[in-house]
């Protein structure tokens, strides 16, 4: 009988089981010497697939896994994902290019994204962008020669009350000043992380007198 499931490719329990059962013999990878992306993350991928009744829903989560692996999504990872989800390569490619958070080319170890939308611009995001350009000697869309930093100028990141702000890899840095920016860049260079990143968001913080009221 005809059903939507047959059209949109419902996830079958067998798919998940066969994936979880190592090794993935059905998949042939040209680069035989290296572990394939699917093998490397098979448990995580099986977990992701189990959340959705239709396999294609796992596409964006799987692309994130691929991006975490290499810093960008490689063509071979895209092909592996397409094969696993029974999609054509263009279906994967059209999706990945629609969303701004996927990199198709390598980016620096620290990907700096500064918000330039109106709310941040009102409180000086353009100045922050200039500081970064001068301090790192790169323009938007470029990386430093040592491969450490890349700069992107992006649209709103939902931190309008605490602008100007930027995101570096997974972390938000808000209420930026030149001194703060210098410290963040120095911290990242020396330790790879910075204590100035935002924690669970709350702004304004309750004043001491308001606490417990």
């Amino acid at each position: 009988m005809w059903s939507w499931g047959s059209v949109i490719g419902e996830t079958r329990a067998a798919d998940i089981r066969s994936l979880a059962a190592c090794p993935l013999r059905t998949y042939q990878h040209q680069d035989c010497g290296r572990m394939t992306f699917l093998e490397k993350y098979k448990d995580e991928i099986a977990d992701i697939l189990s959340r959705y009744p239709v396999m294609r829903s796992a596409l964006i989560p799987l692309l994130y896994v691929a991006q975490r692996d290499q810093g960008y999504v490689t063509e071979s990872a895209m092909q592996e994902i397409a094969q696993l989800l029974r999609l054509t390569p263009p279906q994967v490619y059209e999706t990945i290019t629609f969303y701004t958070m996927f990199n198709l080319k390598p980016v620096g170890k620290f990907h700096i994204q500064v918000c330039k939308s109106l709310m941040c611009a009102l409180v000086g995001s353009d100045t922050v962008i200039e500081w970064i350009k001068v301090k790192l000697g790169i323009a938007s869309g470029e990386s430093t020669a040592d491969g450490l930093f890349s700069l992107s100028v992006v649209e709103c990141l939902a931190a309008c009350g605490t602008g100007p702000m930027m995101q570096i890899n997974e972390d938000y840095y808000e209420q930026l000043t030149e001194g703060k920016l210098d410290r963040i860049l120095a911290d990242l260079r020396s330790t790879g992380t910075s204590p100035l990143k935002s924690g669970p968001f709350m702004w304004p913080e309750p004043a001491p007198s308001e606490r417990g009221a």
Partner: protein, 434 residues
Amino acid sequence: MPKHELILLKNMMQPGYTGSLTDYEKTGGYQALRNTLGKIAPADVTTIVRKSGLRGRGGAGFPTGVKWGFLPKDYQGPRYLCCNADESEPGTFKDRQLMERDPHQVLEGIVLACYAIGSETAYIYIRGEMVLGSKILEQAIGEARVAGYIGKNILGTGINVDVWVHRGAGAYICGEETALLESLEGKRGLPRIKPPFPATHGLYNKPTVVNNVETLANLPHIITRGPEWFAAIGSPPKSTGTRVFCVSGHVKRPGNYEVPMGMTVRELVYEYAGGMRSDKPMKAFIPGGASAPFLTPAHLDVKLDFEHVAAAGSMLGSGGVTVMEEGTSMVWAALRLMEFFYHESCGKCSPCREGSSWLVQTMRRILAKRGRMEDLETLLDLCKNIAGRTVCAFGDAEVAPIQSTLKHWRQEYVDLINEAEAANLIRPEPVGKP
């Protein structure tokens, strides 16, 4: 201290409140769930929510109980709840606080909503950039699963609800409910033509409800304290409850302020947000995120509820109030927002895809002092041909900054063009790709 009771932000204002399950339970958390599951019929939960007058907090302001009521009653098969945590409207940052500081409040709302609509699966579609928020939610879901509030056979009632966090990947349009569903299905986030509405043909073509984070976070309180209590807050009968307003821009204390709906902009900006940051007076404000038309200080006494803001010629939208001081160029401000919309147009409908590019180029030309007087007519003509001619409301949103600034501050455009004409720079030179 606020002169009114906080509902959504109350817990997180307590000293030492971490948002963990123990903390949430101490404040009476998950009591609404205990008192509802198996004790109140799902249809009655919908009735309670309808009576409370709760309206969607994401932007459109559609009554939540009514939305739930659209689901087919006799449908056998899965239904879905999607929590819209995409929060990508410039000027809005309330959901981030609700999720990162008090995740269980949102989760309890999600399970209650699932119970009311008969759904066993809920997806939280969180915007991709909020990595911390998604981690906090996943941890909270883990805690709730262990405690038996989420998962199979919740609290021994035989009811199953599974909640999954699904990260988006940086597309503004995915905050539109049908685009969100497309994205959740692993496709490009292009809005669908309505009807059919998600209530009948939503995620995987199944009946689906999409609700905003703040909407869902209100549910435990409505259930516990009754719809009459909630309906008396704010400016009844049409705008009930509180609203978390996100104040940004040139004010002393920007941030999230939860106030009853119907408060004036003046009170919100000057009493809560501390007034203007310098001695410059206010020039303009946006009452409901980037999609809402600009208003002038003449509208400071407009009440912040759905009806009054609409009557003033704008919309309450997502509650992002952005304030601009005297000296801000309105042409520049409108262009900044226009650039945002140009960047985020999904490309499905030609008027929006092409129109946003033309609008940006024309605006850039005017701001670069190379404009001509006919450009103003061109702008308005373009706006007229975009708004209302697209699949989703994005088209109406993207023309709002230009139409409203041209309405209130036309002289600024004219001055820039006059300067261009005086300097004989009217030959339109290419100002680069948008």
